[in-house]
């Protein structure tokens, strides 16, 4: 084997294994927004698993190195198990983020885990053979000549790269990728439109982990060794750096970033002549260039060399303009995957309330924000909820929608107790909220914001993942028609392909309402929908509310604009200091009441 071939095969295998890991990490970080600072642990776990599953018994090395298990499995099985172990570990790490933890705490926790694992692994001799790691891992292609074996390995890695790309694309492209990006942009808004954020994250951590395991196993199989020193938390940053330089959430960009940062810079410097007496200088130089490049890109081109693609839907806008349809009246409710609730039977329909809150209490610290509040929303009505600032209206909205867990009390939807259900379950059951401050998915376009809200898209399902576009293509077209219809109804077709973060405040508010309507909710909770809207948009919202009521939708409306409340609401609750003060079907009657006036004046 000539030296040239030797270097080329090494670089090719490094590129391939780095690429698989970087794609996996991009799926977590770039697409789903999980800052998994312990990612390199998963790569290391895959490598270690592969090593102990191919090394054979520890005793054969007569005390030279110690490790757990020590069996001799076929290479394919070892690789698959390495992927499984890494995926499992990925899920475990993902579980740390399960509790409603601020993303910065999640990042910190994972960083600590990564550092701690490094220290624990290198200190302990019995489990991982300490700092020296494992060696003498057999060449899986030993039957071939050295040259042939190296090239065969390159071919194997290349093939698995292609397979990995195909898998990753199933998650990054299409409706599933869109849903994941919505979780990345705003977790709470994603659960408000019925996305199971926890489930999606676990899925992503499992897939990202499996790819990490594959990468680790392939690398260890090639170099025949496993050393803890090469899997420190700094390596995670090298992968992140590749993703940032190349372009987040873009598989092509990640390829470019990996080739430039991990190969050209970090590997490239190894081929520079070393400085006599300072063997560490040249590798350090590589890291220094990596540091400078990362900062430069964060500073000047944060979107990377190949930025995230913006899907555009130009041709369809034209079609829709010529035949506007109203999704509010025409479109049938989409069937849900599982029975959401019993059909309104006689006894349920007996009570005309579709949403009931009974004696709900919620304290924040020592403040009783909601203090024994009881209210209900009648079927097919618009119910107003007014009161001075700090009365607890928004907390009531949070309790009703499942974002705030009440300390006491019951929430019923169609007579069914939903107090224990999280936000995404309630959204799927037809109880959808909007937020007081618009929470658009900034990295998605206007039309994508609407598309992502449609429940039970074929492209989001497990089957859709397996079968690909042929399974969900038609469904996607139908969804697109609905989303375009919604935009044309609110006169915003021209903004369809604009990034939501670039919309004006009023437009974002409209988007918030449209997105909620894409779920075709049974009960819509509107938290100050008119605030900050121009009179024109405001009247458009009012018209929409009236039209929606005519279709049988029920609404709970928190609003300070009393004119709108008076025109729209069939029934009004007045809250003050966490309780319902009075209720009436006529706002003008309430206005004359002393208690209401006092509440507003005293606040």
């Amino acid at each position: 084997m000539n030296p040239m071939e030797y270097y080329v095969t090494i670089i090719a295998v490094y590129l391939g294994t780095d690429l698989i890991a970087a794609w996996g990490m991009n799926l977590e970080f770039g697409v789903a927004g999980i800052a998994n600072f312990a990612y390199i642990l998963l790569v290391a776990a895959g490598g270690y698993t592969y090593a102990v599953l191919t090394l054979g018994s520890s005793a054969a090395h007569s005390g030279f190195q110690q490790y757990i298990l020590g069996v001799k499995f076929p290479v394919v099985i070892a690789i698959l198990l390495a992927m499984a172990v890494a995926a499992g570990l990925g899920i475990v790490l993902g579980l740390t983020g399960l509790r409603r933890l601020r993303p910065d705490y999640q990042a910190l926790t994972l960083l600590i885990m990564s550092i701690a694992a490094g220290v624990i692994v290198t200190a302990d001799n019995g489990l991982f053979n300490g700092n020296s790691g494992l060696s003498l891992i057999p060449d899986p292609l030993a039957s071939l000549s050295i040259t042939a074996s190296a090239w065969a390995y390159v071919a194997l890695v290349a093939a698995l790269c292609v397979v990995s790309l195909v898998i990753v694309r199933r998650f990054t492209a299409g409706p599933l990728g869109r849903t994941l990006r919505s979780v990345r942009d705003d977790e709470q808004a994603a659960s408000a439109i019925g996305k199971n954020v926890v489930g999606l994250r676990i899925l992503v951590q499992a897939v990202g982990g499996a790819l990490a395991g594959l990468s680790g196993a392939l690398l260890v199989g090639f170099i025949g060794g496993w050393a803890p020193g090469s899997w420190t938390y700094v390596e995670t940053f090298a992968l992140l750096s590749a993703i940032i330089v190349g372009g987040r959430a873009n598989n092509m960009g990640v390829f470019v970033g990996t080739a430039v940062v991990l190969i050209a810079v970090l590997q490239g410097v190894q081929y520079l002549p070393s400085v006599p007496g300072q063997p560490e200088l040249v590798p350090d130089l590589g890291w220094m260039v990596l540091g400078i490049m990362t900062i430069a890109f964060l500073w000047i081109w944060p979107r990377g060399v190949v930025p995230e693609r913006r899907p555009t839907y130009d041709s369809l806008v034209e079609v829709e303009r010529s035949s506007p349809s109203s999704p509010l009246h025409v479109a049938p409710r989409r069937p849900h995957a599982r029975p959401r609730r019993p059909a309104p039977t006689a006894e349920v329909a007996g009570s005309s309330a579709v949403l009931e809150l009974t004696d709900v209490v919620r304290t924040f610290g020592g403040v009783r924000a909601v203090d024994g509040c009881t209210l209900s929303v009648g079927r097919g009505t618009i119910t107003g909820l007014i009161g001075p600032n700090g009365a607890g209206k928004s907390t009531v909205m949070g309790i009703a929608s499942g974002f705030v867990r009440p300390d006491q009390g019951v929430v019923r939807l169609n007579g069914r107790d939903v107090t224990g259900d999280g936000a995404h379950r309630r959204a799927r059951a037809g109880l959808v909220r909007t937020f007081q401050l618009p929470r658009e998915f900034g990295g998605l376009t206007m039309i994508e914001n609407l598309l992502v809200a449609i429940p039970n898209q074929r492209g989001e399902s497990a089957l859709g993942m397996l079968l690909g576009r042929s399974y969900w293509g038609a469904d996607e077209k139908e969804c697109l028609d609905r989303a375009m219809g919604m935009l044309s109804l609110f006169g915003m077709l021209d903004k369809a392909n604009e990034y939501a973060r670039r919309l004006s405040g009023g437009q974002k508010r409209m988007l918030e309402i449209m997105r909620a309507l894409m779920l075709q909710p049974e009960v819509l909770l509107l938290d100050e929908p008119m605030a900050g809207l121009s009179p024109l948009l405001s009247s458009r919202v009012e018209e929409a509310c009236t039209a929606l009521r005519a279709t049988g939708m029920s609404m709970l409306l928190v609003e300070h604009e009393m004119g709108a409340v008076e025109r729209l609401c069939d029934h009004v609750f007045v809250m003050a200091q966490g309780r319902v003060l009075v209720e009436s079907s006529s706002l003008s009657e309430l206005r004359t009441q002393q208690a209401v006036q006092d509440a507003y004046l005293v606040g």
Binding site: I120, L281, G365, G398
Partner: protein, 297 residues
């Protein structure tokens, strides 16, 4: 019992230093929501700059003060010219972490480039020993513990007794609201970074004084303890960091004594990981930090 007290004594010495540095680290998170990984290499930088002064026959305690002041000023500039613009440009919390890792790598490399990979020593003799119960302290250690205690008390008085300190607490709690209340948050933030940098400088030199010899990896290794202490105490909470530093210092020394020195870090970090799994917001946090108030939507 004797063995135990002895290791507690070592732990207090180690813990005082960790506390000092951890408070500086945690202030940055509390006031600017920054996880500054370059804090470790900055500790190293302080130790090397201090070494230059000691070489020039500056008194070692004066060196501590001078480096503290210098690093304080550098720290304000670092935040103004690097951290804040980066968080506006490069995509938020994670982007800034990555940026600080990059900056840390650059600082550490620059040190290696100039000073080389060899080890250095301030060459201080351990001096007279002081016995208390069964604990043994050198005079240097006593002075360092004293510096740490005084720094903590001064910081406590600052937070509770001065307008500036109240402004800092308000800004850490809710910067926007603080600004709306007429607090000049930019000044507060500058001041917080000044203190943080000061503690970092003092910590770095103190660390170099107590270790027999040090090299370019001094601060990076120490950062693990610093982060552990800050997280243990609830990141962003200065009092938590003080206590966390002591717990990590004493815990790791005692664990090292009763198992083997190799397990010193393992025990400390293993406990931290367990804690994070159970209570990710740290031991002494108020509990509200983990879950945002979701009511406001």
């Amino acid at each position: 019992m004797r063995l135990f007290l002895e290791s507690v004594g070592f732990g207090i010495s180690a813990g005082a230093l960790i506390s000092l540095a951890a408070v500086g680290f945690t202030i940055q998170f509390g006031i600017s929501n920054v996880l500054n990984i370059s804090y470790g290499p900055t500790l190293t930088l302080s130790a090397y700059l201090g070494y230059l002064l000691v070489l020039a026959h500056v008194n070692v305690w004066l060196t501590v003060a001078l480096i503290g002041a210098a690093m304080g000023i550098l720290s304000v500039l670092y935040n103004r010219l690097f951290i804040t613009p980066l968080s506006h440009r490069g995509g938020g919390f994670v982007g800034v972490i990555i940026g600080t890792v990059g900056a840390g790598i650059i600082i550490q490399f620059a040190i290696t480039l100039i000073a080389g990979p060899s080890t250095f020593s301030y060459g201080r003799q351990a001096g007279r020993s002081v016995f208390f119960l069964d604990m043994v302290f050198s005079v240097t250690q006593i002075i360092l513990i004293g510096i740490a205690v005084v720094a903590m008390i001064v910081y406590h008085l600052l937070l509770t007794r001065t307008q500036l300190g109240r402004g800092m607490r308000a800004t850490a709690n809710n910067a926007m609201l603080a600004q709306a209340c007429g607090i000049r948050t930019q000044r507060i933030i500058d001041f917080a970074w000044l203190i943080s940098g000061f503690l970092c400088g003092v910590g770095g030199v103190a660390l170099a004084i107590t270790t027999v010899s040090f090299d370019f990896s001094l601060g990076t290794t120490f950062l693990i303890y610093v982060i552990a202490a800050a997280v243990l105490g609830g990141i962003g909470q200065p009092y938590g960091a003080m206590l966390g530093g002591l717990v990590v210092g004493i815990g790791s020394q005692v664990a090292g004594t009763y198992t083997s020195p190799a397990y010193q870090d393992v025990v400390a970090l293993g406990l931290l990981v367990l804690l994070l799994l159970v209570k990710p917001t740290g031991l002494f946090s108020s509990g509200t930090a983990g879950a945002r108030t979701l009511a406001q939507g």
